[in-house]
């Protein structure tokens, strides 16, 4: 306020003086106090403005709706990755102790699983350091071993930068644990290069989803208004020029200053307009298949009778969709009254229901010195249902079956196509089952038995907890997406084979859909059944049920009540295919919970892990250990690497077990033989995993 009044008062005084000089009332010689006065005032103002100039410029930030929203990578945070191994809980430890403690347990876990040691021998190995070739790693976990002398350079940096040697030890130890944990996954001579980068792991500030606003927007809503500070300083520079001109008696310099003053006036003349615009989106397809490219055509119309000199527009591409390469959902333009402009971009369809966010529009006045920010609503939605294309190979099921006929070959003898055994003739055996060859040879009557073929009753259970929104790269397909896609394909395969399939999920019920139909969402449940209608329902649920949302839910939710609800609805002869990435303790708890209640569970596990950083490596080892433990407990686990299709993963399991999945599951009817068969199959899985890993 003071500055303003001061400037105006001084300006008026200067004006009066100028008039006085011009009218010869006052006659001041040049170089006298008037010029000095002007110069000093100009300089003071210049200094004042220049000191406040820093950070005075502002512009609205735009989000990046073009790329898909990002999910974390397993083991992004080192302490969390380490904590997965720790049995003892408690945050009393200092972080460094926690890491050391966790790594020690990780080493023991890996050694007992993958090298067949008992916990006590593993402990001894760690104590004497013989578990690894890396002397630093050995010394890090054992208090009795002295680490080898570090190179001079490292010792010097250690003086100045704390933690250098600690970090190095952590990296090396994690790599050594990983070397044990990946047994056979990678060639041993690449060991040194596998020491990953140390990232303490800052949990990234995740961008808000949706990008613009969560509330529904109708028409044009102003969100912010600001001065851009585009011209700040020009008046000051102009005044300086004028005062220099006055000192130097140079009319050229004074004239140069006048130009600056003209621009300064221009800067304050206008105000950013509030646009009266409408947008209209046209999609080339509203119900595409996943992977299809949809052309989005956006038409912006200026409905007012005023010119919009500066309009910057960022469309609200749904967070689950990505704009294809070299495309952009942005436009900068000027719009005359009633004029419209159209721009296009292409998005790749992904599964799910995607609602366009309100678009973001910025307007500026002609001089660009003020900016307003608006949200422009226009509801457009894309629903993309997964394709229920059957998998080329059969689904590895377990030997539990319902009472209806189907394709699952059971261990029981009866009618069927595959030979099972011969038994004595009993009265009322059908004539076509009598072994007439034997009757001709020996005169005895015997009855042929075939493997009974029955339908399996399967529940496809998707573990869609918040913790499972994980991917090897931030914007790659995450584990839940892959699980849901696989669920659709597994169901298609089983339905085609005449089995009955149901669908359920564990995961938060997303309340994000507030802006749309605000009804209470229920946990997903579709009882095992078959038929066209059922198939359509299945497909629709996978596409639209909020539990299968492709966007990470805002909150996690307790899983036990959900599981109990499923348990109450499930008949005991149903077998479960659980789709989970196995990246946290809870996932294996869920498997154990179901297993303990007598369900035949098969785990299909999309692998979201990677090994870029130390934390990533540890997360991968932890997942392998979980997988190993489940297999040891008799639950078959299908490991599904990120670079393979589900067909390949199943084909590997089916080929790895040496026999077709159906006969593999007929290997024995008692629990003992059954689990042995599974163990056999899973050990093959490990072998296959080795070859798969070596190529990576």
């Amino acid at each position: 306020m003071n500055l303003r009044q001061g400037a105006i008062v001084v300006g008026i005084v200067a004006f009066t003086l100028a008039i006085a000089i011009l009218g010869n009332v006052l006659n001041i010689g040049l170089g006298s106090w008037a010029v000095i006065f002007v110069g000093v005032v100009a300089l003071l103002i210049a200094l004042n403005t220049l000191t406040r100039r820093h950070g005075v410029r502002e512009r609205g930030t735009t989000p990046d709706p073009e790329h898909r929203y990002r999910v974390p990578i397993p083991g992004a945070e080192l302490t969390e990755a380490v904590d997965q191994f720790r049995s003892r809980r408690g945050d009393l430890f200092a972080p460094s102790n926690r890491i050391q403690d966790g790594l020690r347990e990780a080493a023991i876990a890996a050694l007992t699983r993958f090298q067949g040691l008992t916990p006590s021998t593993a402990n001894e190995r760690i104590e004497d350091g013989s578990w690894t070739d890396d002397p630093y790693a050995a010394a890090f976990l054992s208090p009795t071993i002295d680490p080898p002398e570090r190179p001079l350079r490292e010792r010097l940096t250690d003086r100045f930068v704390r933690d250098v040697s600690f970090r190095d030890s952590v990296r090396r130890t994690a790599a050594a644990v990983a070397a044990v944990g990946y047994t056979g996954l990678e060639a041993d001579d690449r060991r040194e290069s596998r020491v990953a980068t140390y990232e303490r792991g800052t949990v990234e500030e995740h961008e808000p989803v949706p990008r613009t606003t969560r509330t529904s927007v109708d028409g044009v809503v102003e969100r912010a208004s600001r001065r851009t500070g585009h011209w700040v300083g020009i008046g000051v520079v102009a005044l300086i020029a004028i005062s220099i001109g006055a000192f130097a008696e140079s009319s050229a310099i004074v004239m140069a200053g006048t130009v600056g003053i003209a621009y300064a006036g221009f800067a304050h003349a206008m105000e950013a307009p509030t646009p009266d615009i409408t947008i209209e989106r046209t999609l080339s397809e509203e119900t595409p298949e996943p992977g299809d490219e949809i052309d989005v055509e956006v038409t912006i119309t200026n409905e007012s009778n005023r010119l919009l000199p500066d309009l910057r527009f960022v469309d609200g591409v749904p967070a689950g969709l990505a704009v294809t390469d070299e495309g952009t959902a942005r436009l900068g333009t000027a719009l005359r009254p009633d004029e419209s402009v159209t721009f296009e971009y292409t998005v790749t369809a992904r599964r799910g229901r995607h609602v366009f966010d309100p678009a973001l529009a910025f307007t500026r006045d002609l001089s660009r010195s003020s900016e307003k920010e608006f949200l422009v609503g226009s509801s457009t939605a894309v629903t993309c249902e997964p394709v229920l294309r059957p998998i080329t190979t059969s689904v590895p099921l377990r030997a539990t079956a319902a009472t209806f006929s189907g394709r699952l070959t059971t261990p029981e003898g009866g009618s069927g196509t595959q030979f099972h055994s011969v038994r004595e003739y009993r009265k009322n055996d059908p004539l076509n089952r009598i072994d007439w060859n034997r009757h001709a040879r020996t005169g005895e009557l015997a009855t042929l038995q075939f493997h009974e073929e029955r339908a399996a009753r399967v529940l496809v259970l998707v573990d869609a907890r918040k913790a499972n929104y994980l991917a090897p790269e931030p914007d790659a397909a995450h584990a839940v997406d892959r699980s849901v896609a696989a669920a659709g394909r597994i169901a298609a395969t089983l339905l085609e084979d005449g089995d009955t399939v149901g669908l359920a999920a564990i995961g938060p019920l997303d309340k994000r859909e507030e802006r749309e139909d605000d009804e209470d969402v229920e946990q997903c449940w579709l009882g095992p059944s078959s038929g066209h209608h059922h198939r359509a329902q299945f497909q629709q649920l996978l596409a639209t049920h909020p539990q299968f949302s492709t966007l990470s839910p805002p909150k996690s939710r307790r899983w036990t009540p959900q599981l109990q609800r499923i348990y109450r609805r499930l008949s005991s002869d149903t077998q479960i295919i659980l789709l989970t990435p196995l990246c946290d303790r809870v996932s294996s708890d869920i498997v154990r919970w179901l297993d303990a209640r007598g369900y035949a569970v098969t785990v299909v596990s999309p692998d979201p892990t990677t090994d870029r950083t130390t934390g990533n490596q540890l997360a991968r080892v932890a997942r392998r250990i979980r997988q190993f433990d489940l297999q040891r407990a008799g639950v078959p686990v299908v490991d599904w690497p990120a670079d393979q299709s589900i067909d390949e993963a199943f084909a590997r399991i089916n080929a790895g077990s040496g026999v077709s999945s159906s006969s593999a599951s007929t290997a024995g009817s008692t629990a003992g033989t059954d689990s042995r068969a599974d163990a056999g199959a899973t050990s093959k899985t490990g072998g296959q995993g080795k070859s798969g890993g070596a190529t990576r």
Binding site: G6, A7, I8, G11, I12, A14, F15, L22, L30, V38, V41, I45, R57, E58, R59, G60, T61, D64, E66, H67, A224, R226, T228, H230, I234, G235, A238, L239, I242, G245, A246, E249, S251, A252, I253, V254, M255, A256, G257, T258, V259, G260, I261, A262, A264, F266, H268, P309, D310, R312, V314, A322, T328, R330, L331, G332, T333, A334, R368, E373
Partner: protein, 183 residues
């Protein structure tokens, strides 16, 4: 990161217009004086740097140097016409340079912005031409034979009053939201 990242770099057309403005300033200041040429060339290279890097402060420095060049040449050559042209060139370079960075940050290079940039360039140039016309008219008719001090005082008065009202404008704004500040 990935390939679908936006290229948040200064918009091309605005950058080109800014460069043209800078060249005009260099020519106008280099015509009459050698120090003016040196200053202006230094300014132009700073501008190139600022546009390549997308840094606002480099553009500020560049245009101050350009303007210093114009002033130096005005002092030595005392050609009002060249000084006016040079100043307009400098201001256009400053204006469009910053606009290019803002546009690059907000919309990226991939977006279609031709029309917007054309409007920017035109508005900036038209204001410049208007300023030249008024300034030159003032010089030729009104200020001819008048003491420079009076003219300077008049202009200072106009400038101060403009700034005074500008300050009020800025102060009366509601609190800023959602924008990023930068210097």
């Amino acid at each position: 990161m990935t390939t679908d990242e936006l290229t948040r770099r200064p918009a091309l057309i605005s950058s080109a217009v800014a460069a043209a403005g800078a060249i005009l300033a260099v020519v106008a200041s280099g015509y009459a004086s050698l120090p003016g040429l040196a200053l202006a060339v230094a300014g132009a290279s700073f501008l190139a740097l600022g546009l390549a890097r997308g840094t606002n402060s480099a553009i500020d420095v560049a245009c101050l140097l350009l303007f210093a060049g114009v002033l130096a040449s005005g002092y030595e050559g005392d050609s009002v016409e060249l000084a006016l042209l040079g100043t307009v060139g400098t201001v256009v370079a400053w204006d469009l340079g910053q606009s290019a960075i803002d546009l690059g940050e907000q919309l990226g290079r991939e977006a279609r912005t031709t029309r917007l940039e054309a409007v920017h360039a035109a508005s900036s140039a038209i204001v410049g031409l208007g300023a030249i016309t008024i300034g030159y008219t003032l010089y030729v008719f009104a200020a001819d034979g008048q003491p420079v001090a009076a003219v300077a005082l008049l202009l200072a008065a106009a400038g101060l009053i403009t700034i005074g009202f500008g300050v009020r404008n800025r102060r009366s704004r509601e609190p800023r939201r959602g924008g990023s500040r930068y210097s």
